[in-house]
């Protein structure tokens, strides 16, 4: 890894890259370069073309026009294998490893040292241990991968990528499921690799992390390159306006005050009221009231039970204790369908496997919930479908504005908007949003937050779950605090409540 060329010559040079999908111009004449020994951040909103550019560089997509030069030689990748052979290694957002194999097996998979035709396992373990050591990691190579946290698995994925002596390491949203300490550990490894001359391409939605780790950044917008900047020469505000291509109005709008009195204080009946609702192994019995016109935030760490609460309230899972009353009428939410017929809409945190129906069009995805409620015999009239689809695509600013595009060809943020449109089209009275802004960019995030505030002010009841406490605080009237699968506290939000207070509640478990 010491054979890096002189720092003036880019190790990757892409020029005039264009890629088109049916109905979507994903990349339009994009130039991109990557130097050895730098961490380069690729920035842009959802749908700007970041993933597409990475997939072009890693050979997942063929390019329609342009040149890719790696280490001085032009390449035309027709598959990920060829890109890997050219020294480009990738670690994706979701760890693509085998949990049931050991760490050593995962690292060496496909590169096992052989002796007399058979795999030399002892040498494999030794080699894996060496790779881990060069990255400063102390992990037992013989332990099974599944026994480690996602963060460690992420690092193992990076060691695996470096087995092939990669010149270029691509990290696509590596930190989205890591906590602060784990991010620090990851960054230590990244810096180490950078100092060894590896060119690191870093994609993340966390702007702070980008500023912490990157030396240089390229900004994309709507499939085009806006520019390449040195990180220390572009401040955060400039970066965000470059990414979204407009001034900061959107973000300022966000400071919409959600401080308005709610029915709760007037002694009205809540829209939904859960008493002692619980499910063994998922979440301990809890009480929760949600009033019309109110945003109830759920704060807690990953695995604290916040998602499980949402699933019980929406009928996605069946409660085994407690009761639910809707407008004071005892109602059993046996399945999602029963909840939907009560006006409850639930947007799952797992967009990919519980939301997106990828091979259907945007139009079909939007009307799916509404159509399901009507049953298969009463098909929504085409004109009504078009009206609904047009209305929500415009309201949520879905891009591309093509209802016939397949949903899987859209970026994550736009998929999320389509899913929101699906739920809003059913005209719910209670909207349960589990991590609606995860993995999506500032612009889309601001739009979604604004929408939530607006919906509540129009009288909708909202349950809002997010790992980002700032977001929960900004939007919620009341906040339920979760810890260890229990609801430990409930506080009324006000200007005096800060992130620190919530963190303290989570840390102390509400016992002070």
């Amino acid at each position: 890894m010491t054979s890096s060329p002189s720092a003036d010559r880019p190790v990757v040079e892409m020029s005039g890259i264009s890629i088109e999908f049916p109905g979507v111009k994903a990349l339009d004449q994009v130039d991109f370069r990557l130097f050895p020994g730098e961490v380069h951040a690729l920035m842009g909103e959802n749908g700007a073309g970041k993933s597409t550019l990475i997939k072009a560089l890693t050979g997942v997509y063929g390019i329609d026009a342009g040149r890719i030069v790696v280490d001085g030689a032009e390449h035309r990748f027709s598959g990920p294998g060829e890109a890997q052979d050219a020294g480009i290694a990738t670690v994706y957002q979701e760890v693509n490893l085998c949990e049931n194999l050991t760490v050593a097996e995962n690292i060496m998979l496909g590169h096992e040292p052989r002796r007399l035709g058979a795999i030399d396992w002892r040498a494999a373990r030794r080699a894996a241990a060496e790779h881990l050591a060069t990255m400063g990691l102390d992990i037992d190579p013989a332990s099974s991968l599944g026994s480690h946290s996602i963060a460690i698995q992420q690092l193992v994925a990076i060691s695996r990528a470096m087995v092939v002596d990669a010149k270029v390491l691509i990290l696509d949203e590596p930190t989205s499921s890591l906590d602060a300490d784990e991010v620090a550990q990851l960054f230590a490894v990244v810096r180490r690799l950078r100092d060894q001359g590896v060119a690191v391409l870093f994609v993340s939605h966390f702007i702070e992390q980008v500023y912490e780790i990157s030396d240089r950044m390229t900004v994309l917008r709507n499939g085009q390159r806006v520019g390449e900047y040195r990180t220390d020469e572009l401040d955060r505000l400039e970066l965000v306006s470059t990414m979204i291509g407009r001034s900061m109005d959107v973000l300022e709008d966000l400071q919409v005050s959600t401080e308005h009195t709610v029915d709760a204080e007037q002694g009205a009946t809540p829209y939904l009221s859960a008493v002692g609702l619980g499910r063994k192994g998922d979440v301990r019995p809890f009480d929760l009231d949600v009033y019309a016109g109110e945003v109830v935030g759920l704060a807690g760490l990953l695995g604290s039970g916040r998602t499980e609460v949402a699933r019980l309230l929406s009928g996605a899972d069946r409660a085994d204790s407690g009761t639910t009353r809707i407008k004071d009428v005892p109602t059993r939410l046996r399945n999602p369908r029963a909840a939907i017929s009560q006006g409850i809409a639930f947007s799952s945190e797992d967009r990919k496997s519980e939301g997106v129906v990828g091979d259907l069009t945007v139009r079909e995805n939007i009307v799916l919930g509404l159509q399901a409620g009507r049953g298969w015999m009463r098909r929504l009239p085409r004109r009504q479908v078009d009206e609904i689809v047009e209305k929500y695509m415009a309201a949520l600013n879905v891009r591309p504005a093509n209802p016939d595009a397949l949903l899987r060809n859209l970026s994550g943020g736009n998929q999320q908007k389509v899913l929101l449109a699906r739920w809003l089209a059913t005209a719910p009275e209670l909207l349960i949003l589990d991590e609606p802004t995860r993995g999506i960019d500032v612009g889309a995030k601001a739009e979604i937050q604004k929408l939530v505030a607006e919906l509540a002010s129009q009288g909708m009841a909202v349950v809002f779950i997010s790992a980002e406490l700032e977001e929960v605080l900004r939007l919620s009237h009341r906040i339920g605090v979760m810890r260890d699968r229990r609801k430990v506290a409930e506080i009324v939000n006000s200007e005096d409540v800060g992130v620190d207070d919530v963190v303290e509640l989570i840390a102390s478990g509400g016992e002070h």
Binding site: P22, G62, P336, S341, V357, G358, L360, A372, W376, R379
Partner: protein, 358 residues
């Protein structure tokens, strides 16, 4: 055609011709046309249709009639496959339908009466519907993998048919029942009218109502569909029930063709032909998007192929091999990967002269 699923996900070319060759049904239709042309070369009056006793006769009419049972079975199979399932029991259900209807007619006091035949048909179809519901129950309620769940009936079903016929090959004479498979209505084979009629109704229902979209949604992402409020379980259950019912109808037509209930050989391997027809038609075995017009083309290819073997004079012994070769060719030409390779090669060939010039 009413059942076209619309555009696929392949990057479409700018020209109309490229769009045409990239259509999922392009190669299957080419294969069908090629078969018809080959037959016409061997037997010049292959495509001619004549009128005899007020009925239409000729090879095209034979294809329509012979394709009827397979079309019915494949119709159910398409819907089942679209929901990520598979139904291996269709052959056994075909045998049961034949056995039950013919045994009932044989023991009835008046085998030739229309009422006897109607009751026989009703009983057989009723049982087949129940068998389909049984499959659907195992898959959607009990949660057994479709291939295993239907394997049960695939094996047990022939035994049930044997029980019904008591191990005999019952031969029956009943004019009204014979009409089903060998008769003519309005100059056309009754079997074809029934099968194509059912096909049209199903095609219309799936695309005019929301059923098609909901079936696809369940096939593409079952858990997302459930959370969106789709009755995923009911839909899966329904398509298995329909598959049983349509197979029963196919079994009646096949039984009426030979007027003998053969528990061992009726509908033997028809499940494989049906799966082939579905796959040739471009419906993925992974579920999701389905194409009933594709299935129709697939059925016609397989039926024509069988007829071709006779006309061209290939020994029946090598029929399976011949069939396999055609199927391999069609599926390869349809596979995205092979198409990409071919397209890449064509592009390279087009690009090379430019590079030399530059």
């Amino acid at each position: 055609m009413p059942a076209t699923t619309g555009s696929r996900t392949r990057p479409a070319g700018p020209t109309g011709l490229r769009n045409l060759t990239h259509h999922t049904l392009f190669w299957p239709v080419v294969a069908l046309v090629a078969l018809l042309v080959a037959n016409t070369i061997f037997s010049p009056d292959f495509l001619s249709v004549s009128i005899l006793d007020g009925h239409l006769f000729g090879a095209p009419i034979d294809i329509l009639r012979n394709s009827a049972p397979l079309l019915l079975v494949s119709l159910g199979m398409t819907l089942v496959i679209a929901t990520r399932g598979i139904d291996l029991s269709v052959g056994a259900v075909v045998a049961i339908a034949g056995a039950l209807s013919l045994s009932f007619i044989a023991t009835a006091p008046d085998p030739g009466a229309v009422s006897t035949v109607i009751i026989a048909i009703a009983i057989a179809l009723g049982l087949c519907l129940v068998l389909g519901i049984w499959n659907g129950f195992l898959v959607s309620v009990v949660g057994i993998q479709p291939i295993i769940a239907t394997l049960i009936l695939m094996t047990a079903g022939r035994g049930v048919a044997m029980l019904i016929t008591e191990g005999q090959i019952t031969t029956v004479t009943s004019a009204p029942f014979k009409t089903l498979g060998a008769g003519f209505w309005l100059g056309l084979p009754a079997a074809a009218l029934i099968a194509y009629g059912v096909y049209l109704i199903v095609a219309l229902i799936t695309r005019r109502s929301a059923l098609g979209m909901l079936v696809e949604a369940v096939g593409i992402n079952p858990s997302a569909s459930r959370l969106a409020g789709v009755r995923a379980r009911t839909i899966v259950w329904t398509v298995f029930a329909l598959s049983g019912l349509f197979s029963g109808l196919a079994g009646l037509i096949l039984a009426s063709n030979v007027m003998a209930a053969d528990a061992n050989n009726a509908g033997l391997f028809i499940e494989l032909d049906a799966i082939l027809a579905v796959v040739i038609g471009g419906t993925s075995l992974q579920g999701g998007k389905f194409s009933l017009s594709g299935t129709l083309v697939g059925v016609l290819i397989i039926t024509t192929l069988t007829l071709t073997v006779t006309i061209v004079g290939i020994s029946p012994l090598v029929t399976p091999l011949f069939k396999a070769l055609v199927v391999i060719a069609v599926t390869l030409l349809q596979s995205p990967r092979v198409r990409d390779k071919l397209a890449a090669r064509a592009r390279q060939r087009a690009a090379r002269p430019e590079e030399v010039a530059a």
